[in-house]
Symmetry: D2
Subunit: 188 residues, 4 copies
């Protein structure tokens, strides 16, 4: 079985983000033929169709190309005001406007981490609906919600110190590998 | 009864936006003691908690102050990829971080317009949930969905040429005035 | 201030339901001028418009009358398969068909309890949307999610043994009383 | 390619239901190697875990067996009060409690019809979430919403008289066949 290149997308920009830590954790615990690379959307402008009329911004094009060339996409996102971070949604909105938009048919999984107890229980279904609108192949269960994240990660190094969380994420990554194989088998 | 100042927020930035036209239409058809002023979020940066740490950007502060000093807020928003435009959500995310965030207890109504047939049927419930998270006082029914908007507005001048749409929006604005009075009476 | 009669509705029929326990807990912790009475929908048939054509079933009519004569409604519901229990939704569907359906303008609050960790985080927004469709006056925050309910209630007597949960429910009931007063003041 | 047996499930019980008509239409327009059989849940009791403790009711067991032995499931459902009909959700809740519940890994598609203009735009995402919770393999796009259904079906015979609707449903059934093949290929 060949290597699977997974593009990791954090819903939060801040340096000490729990979702960045969650992405790193997923990368650490992935089956060994999976490789995670994290991509940034920090330089995206706010979407405006009038801006688009003068061309897709280079940062968007680069990001979209990386989505296209990945085997799968993994989102780790916080929940802002009970829904998607606007910045992450703005990134998806831009990418969705690319010709032959690259989320179509792409295997996608998601996890979420938050300081609150629910761990992002509301945001995941919004991201699922958005990805469905783009014809992505969204993995269903197992879901991973990392609540009270500040008690589960070493805030200095970003390492996950909670065995239960490590177990959930490892199990999700095993399922994700299977999901990617499944989607590719169907597409053949 | 005194004047009611309504802050109008468009979910779309483009100049020829149907939702800007819908806001204008609402302003035109409001009961005469209501006054609409449209506010822009074009200059907001993408939200990043690390950016916030060095202060609320001036454009955000100005916008938040205008929300605070309004009697009510009216959103008109398109649906992007089955949810909120990322840019609009980013604007709300910023405003939500202001001390004593100004959407709390504020009467809010929404309408949506789109070129597709559903007129934004999915996005409205996401915006309702987001506003609920901020303790806004969201008006319930009547809902207004302006589908196939390109057939209902004069694309040059932006005027609404569809009598049914004019009737729905006028009725919603009458209900909105009653809603604002209701909320203020409760708050007394 | 007069007594407020609160109609409690459990989303679960089973005798040992955590949501019945949560309703009892809410009744126990309510401000003393609030009185809780729990109403059952066990005898409702499955909704069928052809059945309705031969008359509203007596159990539905009785239930609807009790909603109408209450000052407010409090739901406590589990989450079944990530949404509302079908039986509870069926009860609401029936009541919604009554002439001048009685949820309109009624102050409503909800809480949810489950054995899983999220405590019903998905079901609450579905119930909010359903109640919004019926013009109910849904209280926003504070939300109450009782996760891992089996660790928080004495399974024999049904008493809540978890101080944090008791505190959350008590605070919600204080807010609910204020909400009911607020809605009534607006309606005057 | 062998025959594909599709189990059709209507969300409405009434004899003259638009969603029954929509199911028939889908059966009429399916690629010829697909066969539709409609299954009823009329005899299901309201779900109660205490009832379940004395055994799965025969009507539920029969229904679940038919789901299990089908190649795929097609839902056609109205929207009641902005969400799933309680009766349909109750049927799914019962089936979900069967050992090795039969929706797991099953290809599923849905369409919705209503007398209102939106055609069920809110209910579809609730059903998608519910099916996701059961590990069903839900087809994404194309979506079919049949709004103003009373203008699109011959109310006597139940035939669809609207060419656009016929085209949308036919296209969805072609996509559904492809989706079923895709899922089965992945499962091999």
């Amino acid at each position: 079985m060949g290597k699977l290149y997974i593009l990791g997308i954090s819903g939060s920009l801040r340096a000490g983000s729990f979702n960045r830590m969650a992405l790193s954790l997923a990368g650490e615990l992935m089956p060994e033929n999976m490789v995670l690379e994290v991509e940034e959307w920090r330089e995206f402008p706010i979407y405006d169709e009038d801006t688009q009329a003068s061309g897709i911004p280079p940062a968007v094009q680069t990001f979209a190309d990386r989505v296209r060339h990945s085997d799968a996409v993994l989102f780790a996102t916080p929940e802002y005001n009970f829904s998607l971070p606007g910045g992450l949604k703005n990134a998806i909105d831009w990418v969705s406007r690319i010709d032959s938009q690259p989320f179509a048919e792409k295997p996608v999984a998601l996890l979420s981490a938050s300081a609150g107890p629910l761990g992002g229980a509301r945001v995941q279904y919004d991201l699922r609906r958005v990805m469905m609108s783009l014809n992505a192949m969204m993995m269903g269960r197992p879901e991973v919600f990392i609540g009270s994240a500040q008690t589960k990660f070493d805030l200095g190094g970003g390492c996950c110190t909670d065995d239960a969380t490590r177990g959930f994420v490892a199990a999700q990554m095993v399922a994700f590998e299977r999901w990617i194989r499944y989607v590719k088998a169907g597409q053949r």
